[in-house]
């Protein structure tokens, strides 16, 4: 029996149509994204592993405390010691560029959704779609539109990782105390001043939680994106699956986990208000 609703065929036709008629727009976009990722990766590779690792440890000490600094130092030593530093930095470069693009697009979208009901209604199903569609599926059109390599990996990651920051930005702005917004208006703020001086600062913890979630989603997606040639740790994971190499699988998988822990804790600490951070630090001091 033939399907009476050939949605798949249509999707294919649309992608093909875009490929044939994009007049270099996609190529241009791809170039920008590719350059950005390459530069980031180049920069990360430029710095000696011990120096960059020390920077992470120092950040961990500054933002969270010495206990976490010790954990981070251990984790980074494991990554360097197992020989996955280069791959980890390649993965980090992918995460950085896809997260940057996600935030650049996602935060303004979240703000628009919070301020405009119609945008919100339009955006919600799109976000649901982006988040629930199996991640692998994005790789097909991404590869068709941008070829193989870092660019489709980054862009597929952007699509998968953007929804949390959009949602949490919108939520944060909507949850800003109503009287604080009224206070802004009362003292003569223009709508832009209300946004910049009251709503965004008020929503910052929520926005930072969104950034954190987006980074974590990006991390899981860039591993999958190795299937279209994203490179980095994903390549090792993929190779270990293809060769059923338990050792390689464990080591590369562990590197992913350790990177995840460091990124998660560090970015989370930027969403916590200063006083609370200090209080936590004190508690930690007492515990020790």
């Amino acid at each position: 029996m033939r399907d009476f609703l050939p949605l798949g065929e249509w999707a294919e036709k649309i992608v093909n149509f875009i490929v044939k008629n994009d007049h270099g727009v996609l190529a241009g976009l791809g170039d920008v994204v590719g350059q950005m990722t390459e530069l980031t990766e180049g920069f990360l590779h430029l710095i000696p592993d011990w120096l960059l690792a020390s920077v992470f440890v120092a950040l961990g000490f500054w933002r969270i405390g010495w206990k976490f600094a010790v954990v981070a130092a251990g984790a980074l030593l494991v990554i360097i010691g197992t020989g996955f530093w280069q791959a980890t930095m390649a993965t980090l470069a992918l995460i950085i560029s896809s997260t940057l693009i996600s935030l650049l697009v996602g935060i303004p979208l979240g703000i628009a959704a919070a301020l405009n009901r119609r945008v919100n209604y339009l955006l919600r199903p799109v976000l649901d779609f982006m988040q629930t569609m199996p991640a692998f599926v994005y790789l097909i059109p991404a590869a068709m539109l941008f070829g193989l390599g870092r660019v489709p990996a980054v862009l597929a990651t952007v699509i998968f990782a953007m929804p949390p920051v959009v949602r949490l930005t919108a939520l944060g702005i909507r949850q800003v105390n109503k009287e604080q917004v009224e206070a802004g208006i009362t003292f003569g703020c223009t709508p832009l001043q209300v946004l910049l001086k009251i709503q965004i600062p008020g929503a910052l913890p929520s926005i930072m939680a969104g950034v954190n979630q987006t980074i974590m989603m990006a991390l899981s997606m860039v591993i999958i994106a190795s299937m279209v040639g994203g490179g980095g740790l994903g390549n090792n994971v993929l190779a270990s699956i293809q060769r059923l190499d338990i050792g390689l699988g464990f080591e590369s998988g562990l590197a992913v986990v350790l990177l995840a822990i460091i990124l998660d804790r560090l970015t989370e600490s930027f969403g916590v208000p200063k006083e609370e951070r200090i209080a936590r630090r004190k508690n930690q001091g007492q515990g020790a």
């Binding site: 009287e179 009224e182 206070a183 009362t186 003292f187 003569g188 001043q193 001086k197």
Partner: protein, 409 residues
Amino acid sequence: MEARKTMQEKIVVKDLYKIFGPKPDVAMQMLRSGKDKDDIVRQTGMVVGVQNASFHINAGEIFVIMGLSGSGKSTLIRLLNRLIEPSSGQVLVDGQDVASMDPKQLIELRRRDMAMVFQSFALLPHLTVLANAAFGLEVSGVPRKEREARAMKVLEQVGLAAFANRYPRELSGGMQQRAGLARALVVNPSLMLMDEAFSALDPLKRTEMQGLLLDLQRDHKRTIIFVSHDLDEACRIGDRIAIMEGGRIVQIGTPDDIIRNPVDDYVRAFFNGVDVNKYLSAKDVADVDAVPVFFAQSDFRDGFHAVIERLRAARRNYGFVLDSDRKLVGTVSIDSMIRSLESGSRELSYALLGDLPPVNGDLNLSDLICRIVKMPYPLPVVEPQGHYIGAVTQTILLKKMAKEELTHA
């Protein structure tokens, strides 16, 4: 208040309506054809927030808007600075209609001449107390140095100078609201809107803040519109009170007016459980006829005998002595006069009962009660300058209080 015709009208509100819902015109039509608020909610789902509000607010007065929650008082105050868009009607501030201003004019007016204090304080948590206080100036582009200097001055006024560099969350509720008040005062507005500004504070702090507000008002008269559900607060700070019910203003008047002549049961119900005694003072209970009065120069010219005779005839034991200006000289009793006659003195001063200081007419009733329970004699009530008003006795006081209870029950 009303009597002084020279008073300037700062705000004039004319036929102001607010309907919450998609089609305010439909609801307005229904209101005009005599449907009430409940009909409109039932038939259209639209809520009438404020209906047919018309009143004026004088320059320099504290105008309190009172009502239960849901009576529309918070909506009304927000219509005055257009935090909420009016559905129809006019809000004239210094003769300019706020309801028809374009956004630019409105922002200009808010920056220049209006400020608001909120129930939840609504300080910005990411700014220091100083930066919060300077917020109104920051918004209108005043350079940092100048605005911080001005904010600091006001923080000193409200007693927060030492906390200028703290964050709001480090402050107690009362201190946060001082900061909220400072933020409003820094822009030096002629008009301040205060929405339940002290309702979130504990009673002690609330009284303290009311005192602060009155002090500030004494130094610099501003027009203050104060929303409250607390009658004690309204009576303490309000020059006039507007009472709202179901989006309508049911009565406007001075606290005394409203307590004495509540316009309907709703207003009367407000005072149920309220200690009416607080709002009555000695001069309200003083009775002119209760105690005979004698004039020092004329009545005592022939000694005590004539006065004693007249007291006996009136079946009274006590009499008050006044001078020719009707100022109180003192109290005499039949006994005190007989005693001084027996000791051979004809001087009035010997017959005056000592230890009987007169009651100031403004003394509130609860304090008056304290004095009168210990006192078997009638007490004279005088004006601040000493002019005689009347007498209070335990009986007079009880009768008067019983009567008040009846009118407000």
